[in-house]
């Protein structure tokens, strides 16, 4: 009885901990946004500022709008009010003309707040102003992030309503952010799966980036060089080429590990550099677009392109479903087949795997082939679904972010999909956050980094939220880890 509750608690924490990690990272990110916002800093410091229009320097000036917002008609006794060069104290009854001003006078003065008047920011006299500024700063940033990644809910509802009334013109713009998020998530899903599958087999595939490149190269070659094929032959062929290309690229370090013991971390990194150089050479040589002088490949045939479902700007393409299908396939392979059982056993305890008669060589090479294949598929997916040719700067670092994704998703396909959606969403929303709220795009990298730190060090989260460590997963502190039987119920 007792033990099963504990097991359930352990299970609940596998879901709860990542969620809390994300929430905590968002909170800390919010604090970071607040403390780096000059408007907020200003609200917390006692510096006189001149109301100016146009407003240029937030350190010494304040916009009229801001000043009115900050100093509405609620001047109270004790406020310091600056008029011209003089600083006057607001009092009930004026006893000293040179330094004081009556409440009535001051209230009269403020509706006329205009350029040239200096106001004071004083947190302790009006804490609400500072707190409101802080809240405004975060909420503007995060709502921009939300609107940039999911969309403006009101606008989306209106667009759908108009569509029912026969006017589909608003749809594309309203759903553009969501489409972009899903498009950005797609390569994350596939490369995340690649690294997760490697983890399950006990292998640290840092080479997803290189495999993504090679997959892209193989796919683009099949895409432009074969002509006249029907789409249901050409497209699968292009995707398969990417998978095989990435797979072979991954299998090389796998084979080196199995046969010589060379560590896959080193070799997959080295294979990355070879892949980058290979791509550079091919795009400047054999695969260069004829008649051009830029290092890009020719465009692939229309028959090798993943279909897009909506016209216009909406780039959402079938590749997203390909990625989800691969996640389902990986889940089935890992947990429902003998192949996955072997991979997981080799990953969890290679000694026991060998004693049980499994071949380490076969499984290491297979795992690296499958892992590389998924990363290659990701490259192929971007070629056939998004860009249609191979540019020189192909990847946005998916191969490296994928390590974080596999960690965040606990190497489980479902977890990886969710983590990839989160990362894709954050990335897609970052652009809008930068343009609307002037929050540097790097804050997203910081957010991601914090999420990963909290996932990697769950003790921090447990300490913050006073969660109990689930005892089931830890060995007992007795000499041989043998207390379980002797435990009084």
């Amino acid at each position: 009885m007792k033990r099963s509750t504990r097991a359930r608690r352990a299970h609940a924490q596998t879901i709860l901990l990542p969620l809390l990690a994300i929430v905590t990272a968002l909170i800390l990110g919010g604090i970071l946004i607040i403390v780096s916002d000059l408007q907020v800093i200003a609200a917390f410091t006692r510096i006189p500022r001149q109301v100016a229009r146009p407003f240029t320097d937030p350190a010494t000036q304040v916009s009229l709008e801001e000043a009115l917002w900050r100093h509405p008609n609620e001047v109270i006794v004790g406020d310091a009010v600056d008029v011209g060069n003089r600083s006057l104290r607001v009092v009930e009854e004026v006893t000293d003309d040179r330094n004081q001003i009556s409440l009535e006078e001051a209230r009269k003065l403020y509706p006329e707040l205009g350029p040239g008047v200096t106001i004071h920011y004083n947190f302790f006299q009006k804490p609400g102003v500072g707190l409101r500024a802080a809240w405004r700063s975060v909420s503007v940033a995060y709502s921009a992030l939300f609107e940039g990644s999911i969309g403006n809910p009101g606008r989306m509802v209106r667009a759908v309503a108009d569509w029912f009334r026969g006017d589909p013109s608003g749809l594309s713009a309203a759903f553009y952010p969501l489409s972009e998020s899903l498009v950005t998530s797609t390569p994350y899903i596939l490369t995340g799966l690649a690294v997760a599958l490697g983890f399950r087999a006990g292998l640290f595939n840092i080479g997803a980036e290189g495999q993504y490149f090679v997959g892209g190269l193989a796919s683009v070659f099949v895409g432009y060089s074969l002509k006249g094929l029907p789409i249901y032959v050409h497209l699968p062929l292009a995707l398969l080429a990417g998978m095989v290309g990435g797979g072979l690229w991954g299998a090389i370090p796998g084979l080196l590990k199995a046969k010589t013991g060379a560590h896959e971390v080193i070799n997959t990194i080295m294979m990355n550099y070879i892949a980058f150089a290979l791509s550079d050479w091919l795009l400047n040589g054999p695969m260069m677009r004829p008649g051009g002088y830029r290092p890009i490949s020719p465009e692939i045939e229309a028959s090798a392109r993943l279909p897009r479902f909506f016209g216009g700007d909406i780039r959402f393409h079938a590749g997203f479903f390909v990625a989800l299908a691969m996640a389902a396939l990986v889940y089935w392979l890992l947990f429902k087949t003998t192949i996955g059982f072997e991979l997981r056993t080799v990953g969890a305890n290679p000694h026991a795997a060998r004693y049980a008669g499994m071949s380490l060589t076969k499984n290491i090479v297979l795992a690296m082939f499958l892992s590389g294949g998924l990363a290659g598929m990701s490259g192929a997916n971007d070629i056939t679904g998004l860009i249609y040719y191979m540019p020189n700067a192909f990847s946005a670092g998916y191969g490296f972010d994928s390590i974080a994704l596999a960690l965040l998703g606990r190497s489980h396909p479902v977890g990886v999909v969710l983590a990839a959606l989160l990362f894709g969403t954050l990335r897609a929303g970052a652009t809008r956050m930068q343009s609307v709220a002037q929050i540097p795009i790097d804050i997203i990298s910081i957010l991601q980094a914090m999420i990963i730190i909290f996932i990697a060090a769950p003790e921090i989260i447990r300490a913050l939220y006073r969660l109990k460590r689930p005892r089931v997963q830890e060995p007992m502190p007795e000499s041989d880890g043998d207390l379980a039987e002797g435990a009084p119920a």
């Binding site: 056993t345 026991a352 049980a356 997963q473 000499s479 041989d480 043998d482 379980a484 002797g486």
Partner: protein
């Protein structure tokens, strides 16, 4: 005079488990107190509290009548309590003196290590208690027994009055055990007090002045060797009557299932670990391989299982040449293997009980159809095996890491015994297990023999080999020293062979004749 050490009402609660429940313990000066209990009874927890590694939830510690607060091993040592751990804490590349002075170095002229002075003290201590350790020897060149004595010197160097020895005999040969007992008696004679942790009954009766038995975190009895028999002690430990001897009928060996001819195998350091071993195991008999650990038994078994390539020689299993065959081929030939290191080699700790039960049959019907695992069949079979082999687990979906050592071993036994086998190779099948589990696993091995399997039992526990085997092979430095029928072998004879002595010295021989 107040006793040198008193523990009063010690309670230690780990989340969900009471590891020590209101334990009281008194140690008189110059006394050997044996702390007896199964794994998980709370012996180690109690001693770790005394040594400052854990803080007790309740209770207090008194030294010579004074209440003390021990929060770290440093505290414990400062108050004269020293502990020799089961796993030695020595730096192999340093000399004995350097190891001993580590953390408490004598300084010369405020700057330089005073090795000479330290070495002198080590020699004094060594001579005073008959420890026979060379202060200038590198620790890695010493035998296990000598390394243990270095650990003891380390504590005496720090002027420990109370020595805690945690399962000190687990790694020793019978001869070394006797030497250790002599040393312990010397220590006591010169006024030291000893707490001796063990789960071996023979040692307790041979050595202790007083015996305290722990079960499930509680003191269940206190007695002396003169008033309690081994049977009484075992019953106290386990909480029920236990049979200490294995019931078995004489063996009826039939055809040869394992024939090894002049096998040579290298170890990981490329030196010859198995040096020309030839042996046969016939169906229906248990052949025990006795020997101190590290004399080539591990490499021999690995070579038989196809896990290690042999340099030369031949292995035949049930008439088929299996020299250099892959592990899976050997397993499919009908060989069951209970590996020496069950957590490292026999189980995947984070996998469930059900998955561990199919670890080497997962690809065969009925557990798999094509590449698809048949989860329902696997689970049904697991439920059946858990019941049949009395594996105490909350469920088949629980990770084996959460099971006790005895139940983990039962999972392996259930898996290996569940398929039709001709040969069983069991390495240290009961190491570290409690009396109850040992009894169970021994009975199962005998049952397999009676059902017509050949059994090769490799064990460094002399008792186990003597009890179980129909024929005893003694292994020393990679070679078979002797092949004895079980009823013709005495403890003394086998013990000497394990130490590499072929002929018994006259005094021993007399004893054998008269006995």
């Amino acid at each position: 005079m107040a006793p040198i050490l008193q523990l009063e009402h010690i309670t230690k609660v780990f989340p969900g488990v009471v590891a020590n429940d209101d334990i009281g313990l008194t140690l008189q000066e110059g006394e050997i107190l044996a702390l007896l209990g199964e794994n998980g009874a709370g012996k180690s927890t109690l001693m770790n509290i005394l040594y400052g590694l854990y803080a007790p939830t309740h209770g207090r510690i008194l030294i010579r009548g004074q209440e003390v607060n021990i929060t770290s091993p440093r505290d414990a040592i400062a108050r004269g309590i020293g502990m020799v751990h089961q796993h030695f804490m020595l730096a192999p590349v340093l000399t004995v003196t350097e190891n001993v002075m580590l953390g408490d170095e004598p300084i010369r002229q405020g700057l330089f290590l005073d090795r000479r002075r330290a070495a002198e003290r080590v020699r004094e201590i060594s001579d005073a208690y008959g420890l026979a350790v060379d202060p200038d020897a590198e620790v890695r060149t010493l035998s296990v027994g000598a390394q243990q004595r270095v650990e003891i010197i380390k504590m005496l160097y720090r002027s420990a009055d109370v020595l805690i020895l945690d399962e000190p005999t687990a790694v020793l040969t019978p001869r070394e055990v006797e030497d250790l007992f002599k040393i312990i008696r010397n220590l006591v004679a010169s006024g030291k007090s000893i707490i001796f942790i063990t789960h071996k009954l023979k040692e307790v009766t041979a050595l202790a002045d007083r015996i305290m038995v722990l079960r499930r975190g509680r003191v269940v009895g206190e007695t002396t060797p003169s008033t309690a028999t081994e049977g009484d002690l075992a019953a106290m430990m386990v909480g029920r009557e236990v049979s200490l001897t294995v019931n078995k009928t004489p063996a009826r060996p039939e055809r040869t299932v394992l024939a090894v001819d002049d096998l040579r195998v290298l170890d990981d350091r490329h030196s010859l670990a198995v040096d020309g071993v030839s042996l046969q195991v016939r169906s229906g008999e248990i052949v025990g391989v006795a020997g101190v650990q590290g004399n080539g038994q591990t490499e021999l078994v690995e070579a038989l299982m196809g896990l290690r390539q042999a340099v030369s020689g031949r292995v035949e299993i049930d008439g088929v040449d299996m020299t250099g065959a892959a592990p899976r081929t050997v397993i499919e030939q009908g060989v069951a293997h209970v590996p020496e290191d069950r957590q490292e080699d026999g189980l995947v700790l984070e996998f469930t009980v059900a998955d561990n039960l199919i670890l080497n049959t997962y690809y065969q019907p009925p557990y798999a159809k094509g590449i698809g695992l048949q989860r329902q069949t696997i689970d049904a079979s697991a439920e059946r095996l858990v019941r049949a082999f009395d594996v105490r687990t909350p469920g088949i979906g629980v990770a084996v890491a959460n099971l006790s050592g005895g139940n983990q071993q039962k999972v392996i036994v259930a898996r290996e015994f569940n398929r039709p086998i001709k040969l069983l190779i069991a390495s240290q099948p009961t190491r570290g297990l409690d009396v109850g589990s040992i009894e169970y696993i021994h009975a199962r091995i005998v049952e397999k023999r009676d059902n017509g399997a050949g059994v090769l039992l490799v064990s460094s526990e002399l008792e186990e080999v003597m009890e179980l085997a129909d024929r005893i092979l003694v292994m020393f430095k990679g070679a078979i020293m002797a092949d004895l029928p079980a009823d013709g072998a005495t403890r003394e004879r086998v013990g000497l062979l394990m130490a590499g002595v072929r002929e018994a010295p006259p005094s021993e021989r007399d004893k054998e004749v008269s006995g």
